[in-house]
């Protein structure tokens, strides 16, 4: 399952050593066993991987079910229903014929892929994490929690809900591990030599709607562009693993998980979801 390195390779971006990846894979393997999951893993690769990818992060024929917030937010019961019955008309087959037990095992394994469900004690202090979020770490310049903060990146009020500490930590120290298309930085140069960089909020063969960090949308015609480069990284700094100490990262992780668990609001779920038709 060595997808991480494959996806993030060749970007010329400073990355963390592979040891993080090793650690993460270790965590996945551990979770897998805990979920009684060898059978779940086998069922997943036999039945789901062809469409959703070996790691559930999406493939040619189906979206990521490991990282999409609205899928993570579904309850186990909802997942069991979707997997059992399928989604007629949109290409997601039903697997009810496998039997309830096997469907549950696949769902349990999907939870492992999502990094959901670890009830292990989360280290760190949420109060210090909050201070870092709005202070030194400058997370709030891009992210909003409970209505306060920036707007350019995803809101994180409910993000940490049910996530394991490992998954949250990875999202912070390795932001380009698995970047959804809409979150990638796009760099363009116009025919008259001007450069712009931001996120492609909408794009087709003819137009590109680029949102720059100041929030402004630039409605660009492709005919007016000299070049368009879709990078594979996000706007998020990728050096938090070295900029922040291990203890500070624990604090941030704790803050996001505590905030998410305390939050009753629906913010974050399905937010900034692109119109996927």
């Amino acid at each position: 399952m060595g997808v991480g390195s494959e996806r993030s390779g060749g970007l010329g971006v400073v990355r963390l050593g592979c040891w993080v990846v090793v650690l993460l894979l270790g965590a996945v393997a551990w979770g897998q066993e805990k979920a009684g999951g060898m059978e779940g893993a086998r069922l997943f690769s036999a039945n789901c991987a062809a469409c959703h990818g070996a790691d559930g992060h999406g493939g040619e024929r189906a979206p990521s079910i490991a990282t999409l917030r609205n899928v993570i937010a579904m309850s186990d019961a909802e997942l069991v229903t979707v997997v059992g019955k399928g989604l007629p008309g949109v290409g997601m087959p039903g697997f009810g014929y496998l039997g309830d037990e096997k469907v549950r095992q696949v769902v349990a394994y999907l939870r492992v892929l999502q990094g959901v469900g670890s009830t292990a004690q989360v280290k760190g202090d949420a109060g210090s994490g909050r201070a870092l979020f709005y202070g030194k770490a400058e997370c709030s310049k891009c992210h909003m929690v409970d209505g306060e903060g920036g707007f350019i990146a995803a809101g994180l009020s409910t993000y940490g809900k049910g996530l394991s500490a490992e998954a949250v930590r990875r999202a912070i120290v390795e932001p380009n591990y698995d970047v959804e298309r809409g979150s990638r930085v796009v760099e363009v140069e116009t025919s008259d030599g001007r450069r712009l960089s931001g996120m492609a909020r909408a794009e087709d063969n003819f137009t590109l709607d680029l949102q720059t960090e100041d929030g402004r949308y630039h409605f660009l015609a492709k005919t007016d562009l000299k070049s368009v480069r879709h990078t594979t990284h996000t706007m998020m700094p990728d050096d938090y693993g070295t900029r922040l100490s291990g203890g500070e990262l624990d604090d941030l992780v704790n803050f996001l998980i505590a905030t998410g668990s305390a939050s009753g609001s629906e913010e974050g779920v399905g937010k900034r979801k692109h119109h996927d038709q």
Binding site: V185, R194, L196, G198, Y217, F219, K273
Partner: protein, 547 residues
């Protein structure tokens, strides 16, 4: 907590860039360049609608009159569809899109979309699940649009929450539940911005809730005032509401009001009383149902009210747009309020004091009233709902309804869609029950009777109709009207077509089959010097322009 144009954070900035398209969008009401949302409350005071359409009715007058002049009677036949936006989860869309600097905001069922107004592409989408267990209109998860102020967008949810979102990303800034204590409350309207406040109302007027208009601080979401439309025991008008009836009297506020900054007054319509058809439990006039309320936007204090249908027994909500017109009337310049009411009369009031000036019957079949007296009160007939049923005209879908009317400064005519229809009304006293509608029985068509829609042009100065266009169709459309400075009237007709007619003559100029029911009102905007018309149909939003 408004974030300004903060300095860039990391190396990721636009280098030496000043903005594509800057300077192209001229004549818009708001500050900021194309692609930037920044609406000051002073921008909303403009009554000249050009590139932008920044609120539900475009501007505070509610006229839906666009000054854009690219599309004319001479070239309207060349209009063609530019793009279609398909929303996946709404029923029949009822919203009017709003446009600021090339960005369009549009709503479906608990969904807000920001679209590229030139292409219809989605820039962001804020969604939350629709609410289960709601009653009546709210259970249809209807939503009619947003309100915009600063860099924020406001929306009501089906279960009467007011959401404040960041207009640049759709991120939730705050969320306030504003109607509680009765789960029959819901919300379907677009909010209205007045100065630094967001004003909202609720649905549930057929379901035994108590209506109100409430104002919230746009920055913090803190409630500033609330005007209850049903008085509590002891207050003026309370004799209609014995015991606990005031808690279930209806008078809801499910469409945005209009606003006159000079008079510092908002004009807000209220719905029918609850229960709809059984008047025995609510004797008297049933204030303040079926009224237009003139309220102070700073305090919520009532300045005056005018009641169109005292003691309504027919579901004649007065939530139709109270359109603000300044014109010569009977020889003198007047500040008028014109409203085509569901009860079958179109009214002209003096909006400085609520004084009745005139009423004109606009449907042919009318049997609940013989006319309107000199004080503006209906002269009633004996036709009231009974246990056996009584045929009454207009029917309970109204002689007109919430779909927008329009007033053209060019032709000085008032345009609106009407419905020629009757129903057999039955009534029986029943107790209020939470979780259920509160009509106290119903209304049905008499077998074989067919309804017909008409598009009307009313010359209020003369008290005459300039023209009346019969519409072919099944009479199930709920589409509004708008007009332009070039002498066009655009509307959704009754045969699933978006249509444009000559405002002076009513003669058809162009039509387009949208192939889906029309339950929304049209608007017009411009991007990069190109004028568009947009209207929602079925689950789609469609934009039109010249080639």
């Amino acid at each position: 907590m408004r974030s300004g144009r903060w300095v860039s954070l990391i190396a990721l900035v636009l280098v030496g860039w000043l903005g594509v398209g800057a300077g192209l969008a001229q004549g818009g009401a708001s500050a900021g360049a194309r692609g930037e949302v920044e609406v000051r409350s002073s921008d909303l005071l403009s009554t000249v609608l050009r590139d932008d359409w920044p609120s539900y009715n475009g501007d505070y007058t509610g006229r839906r009159y666009s000054s854009l002049d690219q599309v004319t009677p001479a070239n309207a036949h060349e209009l063609r569809a530019q793009w279609i936006f398909h929303s996946r989860n709404a029923g029949v869309l009822e919203a009017t899109p709003e446009v600021v600097n090339g960005i369009m905001f549009f709503t479906g069922s608990n969904d807000v979309y920001a679209l590229d107004a030139a292409t219809g592409k989605v820039l962001w989408h804020h969604e939350r699940p629709v609410t289960e267990g709601l009653v009546d209109d709210a259970s249809g998860h209807i939503n009619r649009g947003v309100a915009i102020l600063g860099t924020r967008v406001y929306m009501e949810t089906d279960n009467a929450h007011l959401l404040c979102l960041d207009a640049r990303s759709g991120m939730l800034i705050w969320d306030v539940l504003y109607a509680s204590g009765n789960r029959n409350y819901g919300a379907t309207s677009a909010p209205l911005i007045v100065k630094d406040k967001v004003l909202v109302g609720t649905s549930g007027g057929d379901d035994g809730v108590r209506g109100f208009v409430a104002a919230f601080d746009a920055a913090t979401g803190k409630e500033v005032w609330r005007f209850w439309t049903i008085p509590v025991p002891g207050e003026a008008g309370s004799s209609s509401w014995p015991g606990e009836m005031y808690l279930h009297g209806g008078g809801t506020t499910w469409m945005p009001g209009t606003y006159d900054p000079q008079l510092n007054t908002i004009f807000w319509g209220t719905s029918n009383p609850s229960p709809d058809f059984d008047g025995s439990v609510r004797p008297g006039d049933d204030l303040y149902t079926d009224c237009v309320l003139a309220l102070d936007p700073d305090t919520g204090k009532l300045k005056w009210h005018f009641q169109f249908t005292p003691h309504d027994l027919y579901d004649y909500d007065a939530t139709e747009t109270p359109v603000l017109v300044d014109a010569i009337y009977e020889g003198a310049p007047r500040k008028l309020l014109i409203e085509a009411n569901r009860n079958g009369f179109v009214y002209v009031l003096d909006r400085t004091n609520g004084k009745f000036l005139s009423a004109k019957q606009f449907v042919v079949e009318m049997n609940w009233a013989k006319g309107i007296d000199g004080a503006g009160r209906p002269i009633r007939t004996e036709n009231i709902p009974t246990t056996e049923g009584t045929r009454v005209c207009p029917g309970y879908a109204g002689a007109t309804n919430w779909y927008s009317p329009s007033y053209s400064e060019q032709t000085r005519l008032f345009y609106f869609m009407t419905l020629e229809d009757c129903h057999v009304y039955t009534a029986k006293t029943a107790p209020f029950e939470e979780g259920k509608e509160y009509y106290s029985t119903g209304a049905a068509h008499k077998r074989g009777e067919k309804a017909t829609k008409y598009l009307l042009a009313y010359d209020f100065a003369k008290g005459q109709f300039a023209w009346r266009n019969e519409q072919v169709g099944d009479s199930h459309s709920f589409a509004g009207v708008m007009s332009t400075a070039t002498g066009l009237v655009a509307f959704g007709d009754d045969a699933e077509e978006f249509e444009i007619v000559n405002a002076t003559t009513g003669k058809a100029l162009w039509h387009f089959n949208v192939g889906q029911p029309l339950h929304a009102s049209p608007m017009s905007y411009a991007v990069n010097g190109k004028q568009y018309f947009a209207i929602a149909a079925g689950s789609d939003l469609i934009a039109f322009a010249l080639p």
